[in-house]
């Protein structure tokens, strides 16, 4: 009998490569969200996304193979770059009700991760992962659940 892959949570940040003014960027992110929600429902993946002018921060949750597939598709997207994985571990979904919760645009010091690199040590990444998750939780709980 084949074992069901475990549930995992992935947290990553990447550099925002969208150009244009705030409204254009919002529109583009709305497109990204629409596509990712459609794909995530099909893949059984949940999560949350926020962005600012510099970077994206996203968490993906679900069966390991599904999360890996969704992540790999996102890595082929030229609208961002320089991905840094902050966390990949077995975890109970924190955004189970959201195909992709949207934290919106957050031009805030708390959301600056542009200095992180793949060479960062485990502790640095762990701390960054925790703060990204906390940030996502706080903005999502303030948002309207109707988005899901």
């Amino acid at each position: 009998m084949k074992k069901t892959p475990p549930l995992v949570r992935l947290v990553y940040v990447s550099r925002n490569r969208l150009s244009g003014d705030a409204a254009t960027m919002e529109r583009e992110v709305a497109n990204i969200l629409a596509v990712s929600r459609r794909n995530n429902v099909r893949a059984g993946v949940t999560g949350a996304l926020l962005f600012n002018a510099d970077c994206f921060a996203q968490t993906l949750e679900g069966r390991r193979d599904a999360v890996e597939a969704v992540f790999e598709r996102i890595q082929c997207d030229p609208r961002h770059s320089d991905t840094v994985v902050l966390q990949l571990e077995q975890a109970v979904p924190a955004f189970a009700d959201w195909s992709m919760a949207y934290g919106g645009r957050l031009d805030d010091e708390r959301a600056r991760f542009d200095r992180l690199s793949n060479d960062a040590d485990q502790a640095t990444r762990g701390a960054a992962a925790d703060s990204v998750l906390a940030l996502l939780r706080s903005v999502v709980s303030r948002a309207l659940p109707a988005l899901g």
């Binding site: 890996e68 030229p78 770059s81 990949l88």
Partner: protein, 472 residues
């Protein structure tokens, strides 16, 4: 026009039956298919340009990109071969996803990929896609519950619209650009430039010349005197390797030692150095010592001890007159293997010194790892009395002599003596001289005692090339 894929079905080498072409692991083209497609693209262009010879600005440039993954071996080693294969498949997918339908992506083997950018392609578009590939392929991969990260180095060569380049030459150019990308630190792309070809050719020639140098008798040893600072007497010479090439002239050690190491020629050259130094030294009046540098590579094949024993026996030089200089890095790279060989050499009666101290880790552990007879302070500290004092004190308490290298002025010499150095070597005392002049130098030092401050005749030769004097 529909082109027929002549080579689309080849016979399987193992079973003789037809199989789908391409790379089985990734679904990309394989090496043979890539070569076919490249040749076909180039000949199509040639046909077109013959039909329209007047067309000055032809649009159809194409480009070849070679892509090597950096640190792929580490993924294979740590996550296993299945994960390595999964990573290669993901790389292929990212690659394919970043290209147009008419471009060709191939896996040439192992972690080597290639891309043919179909016309229209310009230098600008090639650079843009190469940059994007480096970044995209360097993003993390999630594989079997782990995160894997590799880098990518890309070498690209363009066949401009209207230009004609043979497939093989285009690939070679891309390969030279790849060499440059790796040499510049990996994780980047380089476009081929003619200067790369010149550099590659110059390097190839230097390599060939260096491989032949020993057989052609182009190496020679020059000898630099070493002076006892208490008695002002000449005590010995350090043998320094020189390469006299009929066309290149005297090649500085800096420009060939690193290459000789890369080509793994140092063990053989090193053996010649020891043999020659022993034979030269046997005839020197007053029985001064001769010091020979031992390279890290010489510790690696197990020949070092027997070859030195043989050189002593063949020349008849008493072991006590031979000194071997080893650097910290040579010890670091060879660990206990090196120490064992040094102990065997010391048992033969040979003297051992730690060379270039101060430039590497300068670790006390290293200094105590073996009972060195001497520590040589690197020439970069000739004007640093604090370092000289510290090392001399350390040397004295560990029972080692301390030699200051690179002494160029009388002030330096006096200060180094005051700080406790026991011996000195440098241009002030004498530059390295050819073997034939050694006896003359010995005579000169015997007459005037080599008194510092009253420099030895000949020392005032212009020392415009105060480069590091290193021997193999």
């Amino acid at each position: 026009m529909k082109t027929t894929a002549v080579h689309s079905h080849r016979l399987c080498a193992h079973c003789g039956s037809e199989r789908a072409p391409g790379d089985v692991l990734t679904g990309l083209a394989d090496r043979a298919m890539f070569a076919d497609r490249l040749a076909a693209s180039l000949s199509r262009r040639r046909g077109r340009s013959r039909r329209r010879p007047a067309a000055a600005e032809q649009p159809g440039g194409l480009a070849v990109l070679l892509i090597d993954l950096d640190r792929f071996k580490a993924v294979n080693d740590t996550l296993g071969h299945a994960a390595g294969d999964a990573l290669l498949r993901a790389v292929a997918k990212r690659l394919r996803g970043a290209l147009r339908a008419e471009d060709i992506a191939a896996r040439l083997g192992g972690d080597e990929f290639a891309v043919l950018l179909a016309p229209p392609t310009t230098a600008e578009s090639t650079a843009a896609i190469a940059e994007r590939l480096v970044e995209m392929l360097s993003r993390p991969y999630l594989i079997d519950g782990g995160v894997a990260t590799v880098g990518a180095s890309v070498g690209a060569a363009l066949c401009p619209g209207g230009g004609e380049v043979e497939a093989e030459l285009l690939l070679r150019r891309a390969d030279m650009a790849m060499y440059q990308a790796k040499n510049d630190g990996r994780g980047r792309y380089r476009l081929f430039e003619p200067a790369m070809q010149e550099r590659a050719e110059a390097r190839r020639k230097l390599e060939a010349d260096l491989r032949a140098a020993l057989a052609l008798g182009q190496f020679e040893l020059h000898y630099q005197p070493q002076i006892n600072l208490a008695t002002h007497r000449l005590t010995g010479f350090e043998a320094l390797l020189r390469w006299r090439h009929p066309l290149r002239g005297m090649v500085p050690a800096d420009s060939f030692i690193a290459l000789a190491e890369e080509l793994h020629l140092l063990p053989t050259i090193g053996e010649w150095v020891v043999r020659t130094a022993c034979t030269d030294a046997i005839g020197w009046p007053g029985a001064p010592t001769v010091a020979v540098n031992v390279a890290a590579q010489q510790f690696q094949n197990g020949w070092l001890v027997p070859s030195i024993a043989a050189a002593l026996q063949a020349s008849g030089l008493p072991a006590a007159r031979l000194e071997l200089e080893v650097t910290e890095s040579a010890l670091l790279h060879n660990g206990s293997v090196a120490i064992e060989q040094l102990m065997a050499l010391k048992a033969l009666g040979v003297t051992i010194s730690l060379d270039d101290f101060g430039t590497g880790y300068s670790s006390l552990t290293q200094l105590r790892s073996f009972a060195f007879d001497r520590v040589k302070i690197d020439r970069s500290f000739a004007s640093d009395p604090a370092v000289a004092r510290a090392v001399a004190a350390l040397g004295a308490s560990l029972g080692m002599r301390t030699t200051a290298e690179g002494v160029e002025t009388a002030e330096q010499l006096n200060r180094l003596r005051a700080e406790g150095c026991t011996d000195a070597q440098g241009f002030l005392l004498s530059r390295p001289v050819p073997a034939a002049d050694v006896v003359g130098v010995i005579d000169r030092f015997a007459i005037d005692g080599g008194v510092p401050g009253a420099p030895i005749p000949n020392f005032h030769e212009k020392s415009g090339t105060r480069k590091r004097e290193r021997a193999a």
